[in-house]
């Protein structure tokens, strides 16, 4: 699904990713943990195609195609989804029209006709149930005036609408109370399938109680320095990151 090889990336001449390797197979859930500033969000941004970042080396293969060769729109249409750490408010653009444009963009890529109004509304209804997204929020401007939890639920709703091959969740747990965390996680779990992969980026182990990963990786200073199963997350929660950092420097 995703093969990252020796990826190097920088922003404003500061090197953040320093040769990152990661392979995700279809159906797998990988978690990336790491201390602040280790490059977790940079990885998400570079994969999604944010142009502020400069890719200095390495390659990323996404389901047989060169991901780095595509712009952000093409990556999304090819099946990559990024759930934002800070979802953006777009005043004046209704959530529902925003999603219709997104769904139709994907359909255009697949050579399909734009979705019919009724089919679209049925789809919205069905997917909104997954994350208990209020009808009121669907018609409001994108994320405008949404609470932190509502914004994150809206991200998962969008993911469900777009049915990506690979979903990257960038600190989706930040700013969530326990109820919202449960709803968001249940939405994600409902979407797990043998041909859909997840990359869950988080600072805390808490989210991984709900979204149980197959693999956990530790990112330190732009490289993955340690990988293991889900039990690694518990170990990190207990011991912090310092022992790994010491391991690396040692």
């Amino acid at each position: 699904m995703l093969t990252i090889n020796e990826l190097k990336a920088s922003i404003d001449d500061a090197q953040i990713l320093k040769g990152l390797n990661l392979t995700i197979k279809p159906g797998e859930v990988h978690a990336i943990m790491g201390p602040n500033g280790s490059g977790k969000s940079t990885l998400a941004s570079v994969l999604a195609g944010r142009e502020d970042y400069e890719v200095d080396g390495g390659s990323v293969d996404f389901d047989g195609v060169d991901l780095l060769d595509m712009d952000a729109t093409e990556r999304a249409r090819a099946g990559l989804f990024l759930a934002f750490q800070y979802p953006v408010e777009i005043p004046g653009v209704s959530n529902i029209n925003f999603m219709r444009a997104a769904v139709n963009g994907k359909r255009e890529h697949e050579g399909k006709e734009p979705i019919k109004g009724k089919d679209f509304l049925d789809m919205v209804k069905e997917k909104a149930k997954l994350v208990e997204l209020d009808g009121r929020l669907r018609n409001r401007s994108v994320n405008e005036g949404f609470s932190g939890g509502e914004k994150k639920r809206n991200e998962i709703f969008q993911m469900a609408m777009l049915e990506p091959k690979l979903a990257i969740l960038d600190e989706t747990d930040s700013g969530l109370d326990i109820d919202a965390l449960r709803i968001v996680s249940e939405g994600v779990n409902a979407m797990r399938s043998p041909d859909r992969s997840f990359l869950v980026i988080t600072h805390y182990q808490r989210l991984l109680d709900y979204i149980v990963p197959d693999f956990v990786h530790v990112l330190v200073d732009g490289r993955i320095v340690h990988s293991g199963g889900k039990e690694l997350a518990l170990e990190l929660e207990e011991k912090g990151y310092d022992w790994i950092k010491e391991d690396v420097t040692a």
Binding site: D71, T73, F81, F84, V88, S94, N97, G105, G117
Partner: protein, 443 residues
């Protein structure tokens, strides 16, 4: 409807700065126009001689280059829509009365005048026996308006009698066609007490047109009357367009003016509301999206002369390529105009690093118990919002169109006639190569 308020400090005549070179060019221009149109009103000669021809050292013209006006005026051009090859009605499906003016001439065959009890509507050239529209003329303060006074012989005359509600809007369609044309139009409108009318003013020009449009609209809105003007400028070719709207409001009246500049090489809109009666509301909104080489200038004035009135203003511009925009929003609140509530908003997006915008809110408040708010911004497209949309699979251009729609949507929504709004959206989409402007759910 004479102004009743005592003259204030802002009424003091501005020091008139004449520039010898500009005066000469102005005179040459007048001679050239006169050679083609002939002169109807020599009584404006003294006014024209007294007024300074606009130039950059006059504050009101600081950002507005008048040099393009000093080109030759060659001909009057054709006089009918048929000869000009233009659709009499530019708005498909519009159910409206219609007056068509081609190169400044009234085209009776293309027009459809209202036959409605209590409504007097005719070309202004045939209205000499009608009651004049009682309105102080702006022709005595602005040189270009005085040019209109001298040469303006054709336009709309409309009087809607007390309590009459016009059943359909009146479309006034200006069209310019051919080389070196000089369109001079004056529209006189009186909406009497408790009456209601909507006017659409649509300016078009063919691709081969070059020349000028000088349109002056005077409106007297009576007590508790309602008047709405949807003004659309969509001119191809090389047209210089200067427009004046002078709107007087009586007690309890409401006047709405929406100005949308779709296309225009050089456009200057001068809009003034004089609120003379308590309880009146003025609404003025506008939007402009110039492309490379286009120039759009909106100068607005809201003059609160009496107490207990409200005004709301919202102008939004998006400037592309090497285009230039100007916004100047004056709001006067006179000493007697207590309890005024005036709102002004002007927001602009520079869509290119070569576009420029000159924006200036000017609030002069002489009363102490009023609520006046204003905001003025010049910024760029929200990069975060663009990336967010693209990360959902929306293309860059579609994402921008979405932000544009969100930005100017509230102005377009205010247009009085829905068919006009839809046509404007369509033409904006066509101009900017957006796939669609339609944002209605289920479409």
């Amino acid at each position: 409807m004479r102004d009743t308020a005592k003259p204030q400090v802002m009424d003091r005549p501005k020091k008139s700065v004449k520039l010898a070179a500009s005066q000469q060019q102005g005179e040459a221009y007048l001679a050239a126009v006169e050679a083609v149109l002939g002169s109807a009103r020599n009584d404006y000669d003294a006014t024209l001689a007294a007024l300074p021809v606009p130039h950059r050292r006059v504050e009101r013209w600081k950002y507005t280059p008048v040099a393009p006006w000093w080109t030759d005026v060659a001909s009057t051009g054709v006089c009918t829509a048929a000869a000009a090859g233009c659709e009499p009605c530019p708005v498909p499906g519009l159910d409206a009365y219609r007056l068509v003016f081609v190169n400044g001439c009234f085209d009776a065959a293309s027009s459809d005048l209202p036959v409605h009890p209590g409504v007097t509507c005719m070309p202004v050239s045939q209205a000499s026996h009608e009651q004049p529209v009682d309105n102080d003329q702006p022709e005595h303060t602005e040189w270009f308006a005085a040019v209109n006074g001298k040469f303006g012989r054709e336009g709309l005359y409309l009087r809607v009698a007390k309590g009459v509600i016009l059943d359909r809007p009146i479309l006034v369609h200006h069209h310019s066609s051919g080389a070196g044309v000089a369109n001079v139009l004056r529209h006189d409108i009186a909406i009497e007490a408790n009456a209601k009318a909507t006017v659409i003013q649509w300016s078009s020009a063919s691709a081969d047109a070059n020349g000028s449009v000088n349109a002056l609209t005077r409106v007297a809105v009576g007590e508790n009357a309602q008047f709405a003007l949807d003004k659309v400028q969509d001119e191809e070719g090389q047209i210089r367009h200067v427009a004046f709207e002078d709107i007087r409001q009586s007690r309890g009246s409401r006047a709405d003016v929406h100005t949308v500049t779709v296309r225009g090489q050089w456009v200057r809109n001068d809009l003034i509301f004089r609120i003379n009666g308590e309880g009146a509301h003025a609404e003025l909104n506008g939007t402009f999206l110039p492309l490379d080489g286009e120039f759009v200038d909106n100068h607005t004035t809201v003059d609160h002369r009496v107490a207990h009135c409200t005004s709301s203003e919202n102008y939004k511009g998006i400037l592309y390529g090497k285009s230039t925009g100007v916004f100047n929003g004056k709001v006067f609140v006179r000493p007697d105009a207590q309890q005024t509530n005036a709102y002004q908003q002007n927001a602009n997006i520079l869509a290119s690093d070569q576009a420029s915008m000159n924006a200036k809110p000017e609030l002069e408040i002489y009363a102490d118990d009023v609520k006046c708010s204003h905001g003025c911004t010049i910024g760029q497209f929200d990069e975060e919002a663009l990336f967010y949309a693209r990360s959902r699979g929306i293309g860059m251009e579609a994402a921008k169109a979405m932000l544009v729609h969100a930005f100017i949507g509230e102005v377009l929504q205010g247009l009085a006639v829905p068919e006009v709004r839809m046509e404007v959206e369509h033409r904006l989409a066509e101009k900017h190569h957006w796939e669609t402007f339609n944002d209605e759910p289920g479409a």
